[in-house]
Amino acid sequence: MKLFGLCALAALVAPSAFAQAPAAPIEIDYLGLKVERTLQFAYLDQPPPDAGLQGARVALADNQTTGQFLNQTFHLTEDMVDDAAGAVDAFKKRVAAGTKLFVTDLPAPILLQVADLPEAKGVTLLDATTRDDSLRAESCRRNVLHTAPSRAMLADALMQYMTIKKWGKIALVIGGDPEDKLYADAVRNSARKFRIKIVKEIPWTFDPGSRRTDTGAYAEGAEVARITQDVGDYDLLVVADEADNFGDELGYRTTEPRPVAGTQGLVPTAWARPFEQWGATQLQGRFLKATNRWMTESDYGAWLAVRSVGEAATRGNTTDPVKIGEFMRSKDFDVAGFKGTKLTFRDWDGQLREPLLLADARSLVSVSPQPGFLHQFSELDTLGVDRPETKCHM
């Protein structure tokens, strides 16, 4: 078997059994903002305190297994901070120690504050959780890549599906949080793009002030019937309620029987529990086994971010973090994310291209882009902001 020894061929990777002492690990830092727990409206599906972080950990294990065949190791540090000052401090400390690859779970203002630090030159920040379209437009940064889908992508995924179903009219219920306004903006833009008519916008002003236990549900049902009685002809009730304050309480309570979609009901998302296509069962299973809970969209974003680093190191055959960052942005890069197609970063705004799921709590309804939405370069660019429309000028 001498034949199969250490041939010095480029395509041949040294087997682990004969590998030399491992090279210095590729350092990745997970920089996340601790989420303040509040009592949820519903007791169901409490948001896990480690959403995002666990996705990074599972991806790290994936990277290590692959790395052992290439004499590459990865190391993940975790900085869960309380506020913007904490994020800046932790970031500066890690950069001083040589880390140049960061996975972030930070809201837009803090992410920008970090990205604009002088220390952030030559660093790659992989934003795993924000949806803000502004971060892919006027507030885009050269050193930021996004593995989370933008609101524009999510809205387009839903509107494409409506087009296929020939559902042409929506009523839009908008919550009171600033994020809900941004979600509604994305729905409006997308509706215009796909020629879906918004027949009425309904601001959600009702505050039951109590959880389901205090019979808040009864009053809420009456309120939903009231606000939907004069809407006229519509096919779908779209809701913008990112914090899950009321969206689950709309279905079955409208005056006319209409399905609910948006942030609740039929939800456009990067990841969902019922998703098992394209080998996704394997990632769902691996994640469950490692963490004893289901994978969330934030976990998936962080998983993709850490896997992107791993893929760039493997394919680019480098452990140099700057080169890894460059490779992720190059034409040779792609990462497999259990979506049946190659995922790559858009060079105009740093957004990862990916198919998006349309799912409710128990079933996968469809995957966008929908068949028939064609594109000159990539059908995935029918979701979100395409090159000709971009307001990102890096």
Partner: protein
């Protein structure tokens, strides 16, 4: 529609010689194996097996079919003469694909959730070795001389060459994303692997482990991402390779000398795995989404008929 119109005529043409063989199909979502008569193409038996049956192969002595029951973590052994499950074999955790050593004594199994390859001694019903590999081991193919077993790992995107005697990985070859199937050319000079997400088939030199060629698939009227190669089958004379293309609903016919795709044959939906008839005149294709198998006439390179089976047919083999 075309298939149905063609089928009556084609079946007549296919009638010689009598196909006394049996066709076995694993139904991933039914926990059954459908058995069809090769001549009438009628279902003659539906055999209950373990949970989530996937890969299956006819034993080297032709008497049994080994069936992987992935969620039951074992093999079921189907006795062809009696059409009964005659026993089980250990498989390690979450077995997916496997191959049989040329001497018929050992099974090499990819343990998908466990990142390893298990060697199963059939006679003693024991796992005799476990070799660690990359993430999501999938493809398994033992070389014609039995010396090398190759495993592909879907998330690691490598073909791992395992020395079956030393029970060690001796080479790792990086291929395009999500490699599924590994297949040796009949002369053992090359190993081919299919990359589902990468959309290519890599041709690897068995001696140097260098990638000689990456074959890609451009199908008129379909976007490039639709061709997701999975199973690879060579005719025994080594003159033709068939590659199942999954969501492209086609089987590519490739000349292994020039690496050129000569033809795309339209089959059922999401064709992943294939199996030859014992005389290699037919190629059976399992269509996972349309719940049927398509029969391809190998000489004519045409689909002649599709026959319904169970839910989510995964793999198909035939035995005399």
């Amino acid at each position: 529609m075309m298939l149905k119109l063609l089928s009556a005529v084609a079946l007549m043409a296919l009638a010689e010689p009598a196909f006394a063989e049996k066709i076995f199909v694993t139904n991933e979502k039914d926990n059954t194996v459908t058995v069809l008569d090769g001549e009438t193409l009628k279902i003659v038996e539906t055999v209950k097996v373990g949970q989530r049956p996937r890969d299956l192969k006819v034993s080297r002595d032709g008497k049994s079919v080994y069936i992987v029951a992935s969620d039951s973590n074992r093999f079921d052994v189907l006795d062809i003469a009696t059409m009964k499950i005659s026993g089980t074999l250990p498989s390690g955790q979450d077995p997916e694909r496997f191959d049989i050593s040329p001497d018929g004594k050992t099974l090499y199994v990819a343990n998908e959730d466990d990142n390893k390859v298990s060697f199963v001694d059939i006679a003693t019903k024991k796992i005799v070795a476990e070799v660690p590999v990359g993430i999501e081991p999938e493809g398994m193919a033992v070389s014609p001389d039995g010396k090398i077993a190759v495993d592909t790992t879907e998330t690691t995107s490598m073909a791992h060459f395992i020395d079956t005697e030393a029970k060690k990985v001796v080479a790792n070859v990086l291929v395009d994303s999500r490699p599924r199937v590994a297949a040796w050319t009949p002369d053992g000079s090359q190993l081919w692997t299919s990359s589902e997400v990468g959309g290519t088939v890599a041709v690897i030199d068995a001696k140097t482990h260098a990638i000689l060629k990456k074959i890609s698939f451009e199908i008129p009227g379909l976007t490039s991402g639709k061709a997701q190669p999975v199973d690879i089958k060579f005719t025994q004379d080594g003159k033709t390779a068939f590659v199942a293309l999954g969501p492209a609903n086609r089987v590519a016919v490739i000349d292994p000398k020039s690496y050129e795709v000569q033809k795309y044959i339209l089959v059922g939906q999401r064709d992943w795995n294939m199996g030859f008839s014992p005389d290699q005149k037919r190629l059976y294709v399992a269509n996972g989404v349309s719940n049927d198998i398509t029969i391809i006439d190998v000489a004519d390179q045409k689909a002649v008929k599709s026959v319904p089976v169970g839910r989510s047919p995964w793999g198909v083999v035939a035995a005399p």
